[in-house]
Symmetry: C2
């Protein structure tokens, strides 16, 4: 039973920390601004998530691998939206 319990926490964590960025993306697209969202945080986080992808692959952890690939994509879209709307305000 132990391995099932471990995998459960991994997948539960993976789903939550991945899905968590969807409301941020939706909010940014709706309000058309992400002024209060730190650009440095987004860039550092995306770099970190890329490293988690490599780590998850190396230790053969499916939850880490899957979660971080989707987290990477969502945060990339948040970053693109933030930069896009920030440029629109200036012009």
């Amino acid at each position: 039973m132990e391995p099932i319990n471990i995998e459960f926490f991994g997948y539960f964590a993976a789903v939550l920390t991945t899905a968590a960025f969807l409301p941020q993306l939706v909010k940014t697209l709706k309000t058309k601004k992400a002024e209060d969202v730190s650009l440095v945080t987004l860039i550092m986080f995306i770099c970190g998530v890329s490293s988690w992808i490599i780590y998850g692959y190396k230790i053969s952890s499916a939850p880490i691998l899957l979660a971080n690939i989707i987290t990477f994509i969502l945060n990339l879209f948040i970053l693109i939206s933030k930069v896009y709307y920030s440029n629109n305000i200036r012009s």
Copy 2:
């Protein structure tokens, strides 16, 4: 050599995805607002990070464990700051 390489990516990822939330906290404390930061994202993310702590403990992964404990603390402070400043605007 292989285990050293694996741990390197784990710790590098851990440092980046943890330290990433520091600029967000500093920005929120400086600007005294986090209107554009999604409350749902923060709550879901904190719940997810809690599950990663359990998962990291269960698979005995020091990078996952350490990173998520600090990430949890930083995001809790971002959440508290956001709610605090949001209430200050209203009153």
